[in-house]
Symmetry: C2
Subunit: 461 residues, 2 copies
Amino acid sequence: MAHAVIIGGGFAGINAAKRLGKSGKVSVTILDQRNHHLFQPLLYQVAMAGLDPSDIAVPIRALLRPYRRVRTLLGRAESFDLDRREVHFDGGVIPYDYLIVACGASHSYFGNDQWEAYAPGLKSVGQATEIRRRVLVAFEQAERASDPEEQARWMTFVIVGGGPTGVELAGAIAEMATFALSKDFRTINSADARVLLVQSGDRILKQFDADQAEYATQALRSLGVEVVLGSRVTNIGASGIEIGEQRIAAGTVLWAAGVQANRIGLQLDTPLDRAGRVKVQPDLTIPAHSNVFVVGDLAHTPGPDGNPLPGLAPVATQAGCYVADVIIDEVRAESAPDPARRKPFEYRDKGQMATIGRKRAIMQAGKRKKNGFLAWIVWLVVHIYFLSGFRNRFFVFLKWCWAYLTFSKGARLIVQKEWRQAESEMLSPVVGSLDETYRQDTRSPGPRFESLTRASQPSAD
Amino acid sequence: MAHAVIIGGGFAGINAAKRLGKSGKVSVTILDQRNHHLFQPLLYQVAMAGLDPSDIAVPIRALLRPYRRVRTLLGRAESFDLDRREVHFDGGVIPYDYLIVACGASHSYFGNDQWEAYAPGLKSVGQATEIRRRVLVAFEQAERASDPEEQARWMTFVIVGGGPTGVELAGAIAEMATFALSKDFRTINSADARVLLVQSGDRILKQFDADQAEYATQALRSLGVEVVLGSRVTNIGASGIEIGEQRIAAGTVLWAAGVQANRIGLQLDTPLDRAGRVKVQPDLTIPAHSNVFVVGDLAHTPGPDGNPLPGLAPVATQAGCYVADVIIDEVRAESAPDPARRKPFEYRDKGQMATIGRKRAIMQAGKRKKNGFLAWIVWLVVHIYFLSGFRNRFFVFLKWCWAYLTFSKGARLIVQKEWRQAESEMLSPVVGSLDETYRQDTRSPGPRFESLTRASQPSAD
């Protein structure tokens, strides 16, 4: 029986695995360095303490449980032997008849990887919880701070990059500060938080039409977000960012700018584009290897207009299903992999959406556009619908109803730090982490704090 | 207005803060190095992937939001100046009129602190998610392993310590292996997992009567747990444990044995007991400082029978409320702190419970005892009832219904590792973590894996 190996359990990999598994005609091994499939479109809600990781992440094993001929392995692919048809990973070697590479993409810091320590991106659950920790800790630090300048720095949040993720993060932080946290602090007024969305281009949301982007910009501004256009960040450090000569002191900087395909693409020695994506043929294979498919954000797939298809869940999902069908057909026909027999991949554009805060969104599919509250309702329904695994759908829906009615954020926990402390001998502190900021803090003289304490004593009034 | 400083947001601290806040007669500053109050009794369910951290942890700020004269600070207390009535913490100095120290306890490794890296305890959310990660990774490693011996090691789980936590962990792992994971793996049969509960004494659950402990032992054995009595662990390493001459190879070792009070107690220069707990007077103060109270697991509080009161939530809660009342009385009476006027603290025994798996529990209050399914129902109701914060109660109840009906575990995510990789330059790998075990793995020759792959190809049958 033919054996297909899938690298990556994202939208492309999972959907290919499911379809191949259903067919029963192919045995499958799916390899991922993480044990869970992640519903990326809602990841920003985990970062913003609205959802728990387990609401939007499901163990790959659990998703593929029904398919007895699909095997899940936790491990990291390292290289390929395309002639011997083998995948080399950190646990050994796996031979394949068909190979599907779907390792996705991560953020690009445009050659300034040192910025990542100060401005984490949002691609994994681990990064989401780290961002949550930093945002919540920033408010805590502001509450502690007595020096107004330091306080202002902690109350400033910079999001770099005006794509959907940046827009969603900026809107969510502004709303959290205004609503969820408003009654929680005594020294600061969380609603005074400054949220900047910095975009190098002359407008945000380039993926959308200008009028939609304009609507989103106004919506963000109405939430108090400062949308800074035409500004390229030239440096990021522990104390904030630089835009050319201009310095902006910020306690929290988040990165939502460039995208860089997974470096595994280099192992396929075939042409890549500037973002490191593998240039694939109409049947999503690489030249000279008709049994090796590359799909999802890792692939540079030419669209109808010649531009590559965007890195969206629907694109990855459709590509994964397409590849599975191609393989099943060939296995059924007992024919060898043959590009000539395959009809090319065609993407059916389902459109795209972005949400701004808790009751506005924009959507656009071809010529059809929508924005405002109705679009937000559609956004809600669509995301609940596509969320994998019924339990998650169920609980996410309940949590959203709850959050909408109460304005509260359920998951406002600062965890990472804790465990770091527990094993402080084993882990070196992370730059820009709380430990770090504490150290900055203790440099300032102790007594200064008394004033704050007095201020807090209502006996003063 | 009198100012009370509370160190620690556990059951004792939170309840003292709430009551003082309600009175409006005292301004309060509560200091904790974590931003959340943790419902410890259910922490093992987070470790066992049944609940999410945010189900049992609530931000201290959110809990105290209603009380305008209560201020929450994130920070770590470092020392006290009892004469100048000041708390020194990592952010400065806080003066107080009344001081309530409630920093709790952590695990004691009986002088073998190096064991912690191989056998984490279960006291914080960070530790719970780390334990979850290790248990889930162990099954993944077993699935990957081709060497039967290595596989057996990964399938062996040792819990050290036969108290309620040890019993609850052992029962939960055994059930997870038998039910939740049973259909998820292809190479291993998760139900073959070996779960050992190692206890140095001649029986488990010393806090309970012998017959109750006997019932629990039988219940554990019926779940497949090997209860090993009269065995003191003499060494713990990456590959397992030693009991005298006997070595037990285990991929996962969890620590639920000794308890060690928070070291902050040393800063009060007053007598401590062997567990490092502060010996308090009948009014829960320390000698010569009638405005300094020590409550909760940090305190050695003499009970009616002369033995110290156990480290239970009800004890901490009642002590916190008692201290708040004492302070409020004195403030109302405008009298200076005066031990003579105070009636001593009296603990009203609410009894204690432990649960074994998903439908059995034991409970005991004085002479009254119960066990079996009915006790489990009571356990369920009591824990839901006392869970702080309505949202949590609501969602935990739903998740339990769900889990009970489906046998599924919702939160089976391996996260920590991920983020470690993302910042691998910044964090050194943790001994015994996945990174480590991977390295062990890659030492073995790659090709050996092929056999496993073939085995997985149904074409073989």
